[in-house]
């Protein structure tokens, strides 16, 4: 959470669709958009879409980043990343170089990350500042969830999730994942079909 506070100023760019609002039609823009209500139709943004827990987006979405804690029905094309948080629910296809699905999220559809080869860590444009262990995803759910109640007060139009993305946009190399622990070398016979199964414990 500390990381999200540092980047809380995003200037005047803060479009918020409140919980009782329904927009149906086509929405385009060059700023972050937070949806707490409902948007139906088509959504094109050059920045970040944040669908909060109360938010429902029933639209084909084209954005730079999307953070989904609410409901999305439709396809998302993101030039950078799509994240389904713990409470995110989505039905549709995702087309984005980075897709993050956190434990607890539910999703049905196709995922296309494009390139078949994983990029080297340093090339990844937006490493998240959130520190987490490389092997389990559990802790990653915590910041995403904790951010939501903080976003509620109407007095401050920039909710932390925006800040989080701003933070993520800073180029910051994520440390490479730790190498796999050295494993016992198993002496298999040269034959290809030979199965060697070892009891570890």
């Amino acid at each position: 959470m500390a990381a999200t506070k540092e980047f809380s100023s995003t200037g005047g760019d803060a479009t918020v669709i409140g919980p009782s609002i329904l927009i149906s039609g086509k929405l385009t823009g060059d700023e972050d958009l937070t949806v707490r209500g409902r948007v139906e139709g088509e959504l094109n943004l050059s920045k970040t879409l944040i669908v909060e827990t109360s938010g429902i987006v029933k639209a084909n979405v084209s954005v730079r980043n999307a953070i989904v804690s609410g409901v999305v029905v439709g396809n998302i094309t993101a030039s950078e990343s799509v994240e389904l948080t713990r409470e995110g629910r989505m039905v549709g296809d995702i087309n984005s170089p980075r897709v993050i699905i956190v434990d607890g999220a539910s999703f049905r559809g196709h995922v296309d990350m494009g390139n078949a080869e994983p990029r080297p860590q340093s090339e990844r444009p937006a490493a998240r500042p959130v520190v987490r262990p490389a092997t389990t995803s559990r802790p990653a759910t915590v910041p995403a969830r904790a951010a939501i109640p903080v976003a509620r007060p109407a007095a401050k139009p920039q909710p932390p999730p925006i800040a989080k993305v701003e933070a993520a946009a800073k180029p910051e190399n994520k440390p490479a994942p730790p190498p796999p622990p050295p494993q016992p070398v198993l002496v298999g016979e040269a034959g290809k079909k030979k199965v060697l199964v070892k009891k570890k414990k």
């Binding site: 479009t15 409140g18 929405l27 823009g29 700023e31 109407a154």
Partner: protein
Amino acid sequence: MANTIIGSSIVIDGEISGDEDLVIQGTVKGKISLKESLFVEASGVVEADIEVQNVDIAGRVTGNIAATDKVELKADCRVVGDVRAPRILIADGASFKGNVDMDVKER
């Protein structure tokens, strides 16, 4: 501050409905119907028919406006369309073209 803000770079082509305050700094085309107040700020451009309780216009509105309570046209606003509301305020400097109807049947 209102819950819903349509920022200055946002363009919405379609319908907006709801029961909370709405602030428009960007562009909305189509239709707006709200049970609460609408604020069209100086940078806001609305090409839509508007049905609200209150509306404050400092930007540009093209379309018919029907308010159940009050319509306020601020200085420097530009409004083209018919306005129907029990209370209508037009500030010095406001530009307005259209009919005014304050004889509202309801309430």
